[in-house]
Symmetry: C2
């Protein structure tokens, strides 16, 4: 049974506010874009918070900077370590370099080439491992042991969760009258931070989580009340091929209004629509809440909906709509 | 010999200012984006005027609105006609609908599918013709004759040229200290409008034109002093497969500081860099000035350079870097 008492949650809104002050000047306050044509297609008035235009091309710059800028000088000197599907890796490499620290990154060997190059360009040391959660965690623990470095977990860390919440905080500062806010769930750091900021700033806002149906562990965990990682996730949304963190589940249980899963086909269609109509590059993970709007998963007709577009790091060599849809 | 007396040019800066007032509220004041990483690659401080985020996804919305909003009620009721490689067509369809008028559009039968659909969605009537300038002009003249409609030429019309100049006007209002401004040349409407605005607002700014080497008629005309259309242009930059208008040549002769042509390979590389780093969708024509920066065609080391990104209407089914480079 999950404790739904908010006092026991991993972060509070104060942590998001502190993160916002700490990371200002290191990350962008990203723009919010809208499109009349897309609104007509989605039957809602959608406000896109463009974290694809964030530094390193993803919201992960927020949490990583909050974690690394919180280190004292001694800890910073010993460096940071993480395991990541990509964007957190680049984010941590950048944050370490901002702080005069160093970052060692454990990445699955099937990570997109663009993400590996991005980490190296930012000065991160890449260590490859097998594409399983267990292999990643073991490799990262080895590096912590060896170097006395600090592990910055991609999503199961209170400083990271609070940092990710600053995107929704900015969005609601800019558009206080939103009826709903949506984000995708991978490890749950963004969704937990988003929910914390949104509930504090706009008590009656609807907080809506979205996940690929082919990587629905967070939906199952949220529905059932206990962590249910299940089979290795299999989705085109590579940023969401992680399982829900145990710090995030209680936050989602306490604060979410609803949770929907979407098909791979809808993710690809939503991604292409955003590229075609809004002329911005988003990665498949970003398209997951848009897919939920496209599939009318929630009752949001004519509502003002904030959507966090999580990132824009895509391998441009082969786009999702150019290959056969993946199926389980 | 071309008359370089400015009194005889087709438009003056006053026309751009009048256009700016006329089209306000109908078109977007587009954002200007920058990227540290791209600046490092290009060895310059580049300010991108994002006309890919303009209505209908291209700067052409400006000139078309200026032309259509200038019509009196009787002319507007008879409708407008044009021939276009695509973006002007969508722009004219939108402008006609804004004005309560109707637009008949002559398009080459090899126009990208996305552009044809875009015109139809905006209520434009599409009439296909052979992909030659002569065939387009004949078909448009036929429609003018038949309906008493007004021809709005895509680039050889003073109202259109003045409208296109409003993009550079906004860019220089936002960044008055620019050392240079760059745009691509197809029919020359954008470049002529840009040059007119830039020279009036910033007398010492360097005004730099760029064109694909495989569609270099404007470069030849500008260099030689007389219109030299030559062979049908053959470039991946489909928006620039037109030849220089006779109203634009004298403006370019009077106001340009320099003019460079770029390779197809550099256009594709520049386009991909902008997508990858800036996370925005631009069409190949937009990449032409970026290609000139990439190939160091002008001496702009560490200069503040304004670049008009002309549009973002691309057929996402097959991207330029996914096919073999075209060659003459």
């Amino acid at each position: 049974m999950i404790d739904q008492n908010r006092e026991s949650l991993a972060i509070s809104f104060d942590d998001v506010v502190a993160a916002s002050r700490r990371i200002a000047g290191y990350v962008h306050r990203t723009p919010v874009l809208t499109s009349r044509r897309l609104n007509a297609i989605l039957d809602a008035q959608v406000f896109f918070k463009c974290e694809n235009l964030q530094r390193i091309g993803a919201f992960k710059a927020r949490g990583a900077h909050n974690a690394v800028l919180s280190l004292d000088d001694e800890r910073a000197a010993a460096g940071v370590v993480t395991h990541s599907s990509g964007n957190h890796a680049a984010a941590l490499a950048l944050a370490a370099s901002s702080r005069g620290s160093t970052a060692a990154i454990v990445m699955p060997e099937n990570a997109p080439a663009a993400k590996v190059m991005s980490v190296r360009r930012l000065g991160g040391e890449v260590h490859f491992c097998a594409p399983t959660i267990a292999a990643r965690e073991a490799a990262a623990a080895g590096l912590v042991e060896e170097r006395g470095a600090t592990l910055v977990h991609p999503y199961n860390d209170p400083l990271v969760i609070a940092g990710q919440g600053t995107a929704a905080m900015e969005l609601i500062e800019d558009y206080p009258a939103l009826d709903a806010v949506m984000a995708p769930v991978g490890g749950g750091g963004l969704m937990a931070g988003t929910a914390t900021a949104a509930r504090a700033m706009a008590p009656s806002i609807r907080i809506l989580a979205t996940e690929p149906a082919q990587a629905d562990d967070a939906w199952r965990s949220w529905s059932g009340g206990t962590l249910d990682p299940g089979d290795p996730p299999d989705t085109i949304a590579d940023g969401l091929r992680t399982t829900l963190g145990d710090l995030n589940l209680p936050i989602l249980r306490a604060l979410l209004d609803d949770f929907a899963t979407v098909s791979e086909q809808a993710i690809v269609e939503a991604m292409r629509l955003v590229w075609e109509i809004m002329k911005i590059v988003i990665e498949p993970s970003s398209a997951v809440p848009v897919a939920a709007l496209l599939e009318r998963k929630f009752d949001l007709r004519d509502a003002k909906v904030g959507v966090i577009l999580t990132g824009g790091n895509v391998d441009l060599g082969l786009l999702p709509w150019q290959r056969a849809p993946e199926s389980r």
